[in-house]
Amino acid sequence: MSQIAAGNIEIDNTSDDPRERQPLVLRGRDFTSVTNAVSDIAERKTTMAWKVAFAVAVSFLGILGACIGYLFTTGVGVWGNNQPVSWGFPIVNFVFWVGIGHAGTLISAILFLFRQNWRTGINRFAEAMTIFAVICAATFPGIHVGRPWLAYWLFPIPNQMDMWPQFRSPLLWDVFAVGTYATVSVLFWYVGMIPDLATLRDRATGKIKQIMYGIFSVGWTGSCRHWHRYEKAYLLLAALATPLVLSVHSVVSFDFATAQIPGWHTTIFPPYFVAGAIYGGFAMVLNLAIPAREFFGLKDIISRRHIENCAKIMLATGMIVAYSYSTEFFTAWYSGNLFERFGFYNRAFGWYAWSTYIMLFCNAIAPLILWSKKARTNMLIVFIVALFANVGMWFERFVIIITSLSRDFLPSSWWLFKPTIIDLATLAGSFGLFFTLFLLFCRYLPVVAMAEVKSIMPSAHAHPEQHDELSGDEFRTDYRPDEHFRPKEKDGH
């Protein structure tokens, strides 16, 4: 086992002194002990805490199943949806979960391109979180019309009606955006996991584990000829996923922005939605990472610096969100448009004003504390701010959808939306789905990208001065391997 003394010790590596580079993997862990620390989580006996958490999560998943069953057998009348608020909770929940799903791919793709090495500590489970959040999100449009047997209408599938979907509608763009995002996120997650699954395969003792990890690690041997193409593939995926992350919530925002409802019809929506999604996504990453590093003993790998960096991103995106709120209000007033003005007056003083104030407090006021480094490095404070952000982001979507739809142009078509108990239970149940998947992931898969963490450790880098006499030209930056490498014919040896 590792030579690191047991204990999950908190070490402060958040110094910003440029004269000393702060380590990302603490307490002198070497490759062996990184492997051990991470693999052990998937190898050790199931803990009581996990069983209890899993039982709770599965119970909520059961609630979701029951709610959906009730919906399908009875109809959408079980929800509070009405005319004009026909989108109701399901679309609020959809946008909320899709938003959560932004952090994972942002961490894996954008921070990869920016060479942010600290991403390696948290990218794996942030990506897992992304996928599970997108699964939760995808549930809601699927059940929203209460007729899941017609879900194939979403896709361009030749059918008996000889009809095709309407590609000029942002709702169909959404199908493609979320579908592509889900697919690419799964690919990214899985490709990143292959080397780590191979590690678990090579350490596995039981037959079943050997076979399962063996199949999913596709026979990975760590060959450097494979690594070469693998790294290129990873870079390409990152480059492809970067605009994709930004596009998904932009397209989701088109669902609103291309409509004419007051409060929706604004050009600020795409950047505002993307910033909000990253803000909410990082909040969820922190809500998961802070307990996980505690329970799994990963404080050396997900160090305080990692948490502080996430908090900084939350602060930055939270400020963009706050700025967007003020721009929205200002533009509504400055436009002189009667309906826009009323729409925002209604948000601030109407029947749903309380939700606007929850949103403003959680997203614009609460993150302000993160300006203080003391707060950013205090795990409890960061955790609580992240909880606020999650609540706030849910209410942001509630405000946008519910208040705008319930008070559109004609007072004769106004109506209030009141969620039913089934609405609330479905929302709670979607968390059950999310946590069930997440707990299974924590139990059976490598929660930290071991190979990537190892590659950023100081011992992963060669010391060129040692190689002068042996390999000389290999370390010249202009070295072209092809000029020297000429495959020779087999000479019948």
């Binding site: 592509t180 690419v184 690919l187 350490r203 026979g219 041997t221 450097c224 494979h226 040896h493």
Partner: protein, 201 residues
């Protein structure tokens, strides 16, 4: 394949020997596995093996090593070109699909929108370009690496399991034209190997 200690029934007429050989499994030397402890060691070893003129060999490591491509003389992969083709296929598919569905096969007037308007088609063109590129990237990478390959004689070596954890290995294939068990072993050891092991299949 150079075979070592492999006897077939045709080799002998002696019934006693025959009986013994038949029960023996046919074992071939697949290659030599040499273990190294650090990144510096493996880079030196890789340089030495390449300069010795070996062609069928590989380095195995728990993570991608910076500089190993140069040390081993690995040529750049064609993967990006495959991805370009995949991406353009996605673009073309999206344009064709939207034109066929809405402007040709089933013209449907809604909200006064033109049946064929490029701006409205951009989001799906973008999404399918990315989707096709990403699928090409992943399956292209696996294909070029000849994965999945669930059986590999290297998996028989207990020592080699550390290749996915904390050790670095040079594997030289016995089918390499320069391969000679004794000399190759010497070369690997002199390059700093902590152990050299035969892999048989």
């Amino acid at each position: 394949m150079s075979t070592v200690a492999t006897h077939t029934i045709e080799d002998t007429e002696d019934p006693e020997l025959l009986g013994r050989v038949v029960t023996e499994e046919k074992v071939e030397l697949v290659g030599l596995v040499a273990e190294y402890e650090s990144v510096d060691d493996i880079l030196k070893a890789a340089g030495a093996v390449r300069r010795a003129g070996f062609l069928r060999w590989d380095v195995h490591s728990p993570f991608p090593i910076h500089g190993i491509d140069y040390a081993m003389g690995i040529r750049p992969t064609i993967l990006p070109w495959l991805v370009l083709v995949g991406g353009l296929t996605g673009t073309a598919t999206a344009i064709w699909m939207q034109w066929y569905c809405n402007a040709y096969d089933y013209k449907f007037l809604i909200s006064g929108k033109p049946v064929w308007s490029f701006p409205a088609n951009i989001p799906i063109i973008f999404e399918l370009t990315v989707l096709f590129s990403a699928l090409t990237t992943v399956f292209g990478m696996l294909g070029l690496n000849k994965l999945p390959q669930l059986y590999n004689p290297l998996f028989k070596s207990e020592r080699f399991r550390r290749a996915t954890s904390d050790r670095f290995f040079v594997v030289i294939d016995a089918s390499d034209p320069k391969f000679n068990e004794e000399q190759t072993t010497q070369l690997l050891l002199s390059a700093g190997a902590t152990a050299v092991e035969r892999v048989e299949d």
